[in-house]
């Protein structure tokens, strides 16, 4: 049954290019970006688009904790791990090549729509595809540990570059629409959409926690997170975070690098158009 559903879904995606399934145009997406960004710039006066790179740390409601975050970012605990990732990136494959030879897109352009396959490329997916193409073992855990560290290494080389995802292809627009629906649909026993917390209630407090703004979500990922560090696995990709969020609203999470989260990452990345990358970051 599950297979049937996903097959039907794949067919749906493939059909979009040719038919008129809930199509959204490039102009409509542009308008979405303007509205989304405009909402947050108005909600948090004084903040610029660039400021949202800092995630929740950028918000005035979080100001009392920002100094602590800044001190931690000066000598971040992930530094030795970043050195390790740089070594792993340069380490030769059996065939003499290395990850440095992989054909990756600039980090600010991810996720990249691949017209030939109709699929979305993520950095995680491209790293594993490159490993496979070179006869190396793929990295099985695509949510944390080595994969997160490698993605952080790669993306960090593009820090300061402004997010610029290409959504001009109708196929890409179909992914966008799927991600957009995911973002705004209520889910789980608690009946929360992503937008309930991160748009409508951004900056508000859930007990002692400040809800981050949806604008800027992902530009600091992979992150080194205190909550995950306590459990011994501090690194996490954006898909790991999505899974945690889904659990918190008591919904069944989806698979990292599966269609749902890739679509969500695409939607959030398009909303971040113009926000500079700042990878990795520390989060609470």
């Amino acid at each position: 049954m599950k297979k049937l559903v996903s097959l039907a879904f794949a067919a749906g995606i493939a059909m979009v290019g040719a038919s008129a399934v809930q199509a959204i145009s490039e102009a409509e997406i542009k308008k979405d970006i303007e509205e989304f960004q405009g909402f947050f710039l108005k909600r948090f006066p004084g903040l610029t688009l660039e400021d949202f790179s800092d995630g929740v740390n950028a918000l005035p409601q979080y100001a009392h904790r920002r100094a602590n975050w800044e001190i931690n970012m000066e000598f971040p605990q992930f530094e030795p791990e970043m050195d390790k990732a740089a070594e792993e990136w340069a380490a030769p494959f059996q065939n003499g090549k290395s990850l440095a030879d992989c054909d990756l897109a600039p980090a600010q352009n991810y996720p990249v729509f691949d017209a030939a396959s109709g699929d979305l490329r993520t950095v995680e997916g491209d790293i594993n595809a490159c490993l496979k193409a070179n006869g190396e073992e793929v990295i099985k855990n695509v949510k944390r540990g080595k994969m997160a560290r490698l993605v952080a290494h790669y993306k960090s080389q593009f820090n300061g570059e402004k997010m610029a995802v290409d959504y001009s292809d109708p196929g890409a627009q179909a992914w966008y629409e799927k991600g957009r629906q995911f973002y705004w649909a209520k889910r789980g026993q608690l009946n929360f959409s992503c937008a309930d917390c991160h748009v409508h209630n951004s900056g508000n407090s859930a007990r002692g926690d400040v809800l981050s703004a949806g604008l800027g979500h992902g530009v600091g990922f992979p992150v080194w997170r205190t909550k995950w560090q306590v459990a011994g696995k501090p690194w996490g990709t954006i898909h790991r975070r999505y899974g945690g969020c889904n659990n918190q609203v008591r919904a069944d999470g989806f698979k990292a690098q599966g269609e749902e989260y890739k679509a969500l990452e695409f939607y959030e990345s398009v909303m971040n158009t113009g926000v500079p990358l700042k990878v990795p970051s520390l989060r609470q």
């Binding site: 026993q189 608690l190 009946n191 929360f192 309930d196 917390c197 409508h200 209630n201 508000n204 407090s205 859930a206 007990r207 002692g208 809800l211």
Partner: protein, 131 residues
Amino acid sequence: MLAAMVLMGTASVSTVAVAMEWPDEKACGEAVKSGDKIIKGWCTAISRRAGNCLGCHQAMVSPWPEKLAPGGNIGPPLVAMKARFPNREDLRAQIWDPTVRNPNTSMPPFGKHGLLTEEQIDSIVDWLMTI
């Protein structure tokens, strides 16, 4: 707002809530054994595993338990409930499924989605009608 404050003041004279010592989450384990239904409602409301009302709401009880973190500010503060919901059933319905009145609300449908039992909802309403 002023009317609500006045009402709250009036209500406080006649209710048990004011003289009550409000337990924090930890003290609730022992406190509910007393059988007091208002305390039971309060404990159901503040427990993270039950209502977790404080996740989104501040609650105007006095004195506030020293070790209890203040509530969030996602929803309106829980104050003058009798004035805001003269009909107890309206308040109960609002907790059971707030999406009836506002489909876009951030408040979870506690009854409809089985987050709380009918009995737990009754008990929270019992408490809310005293503040």
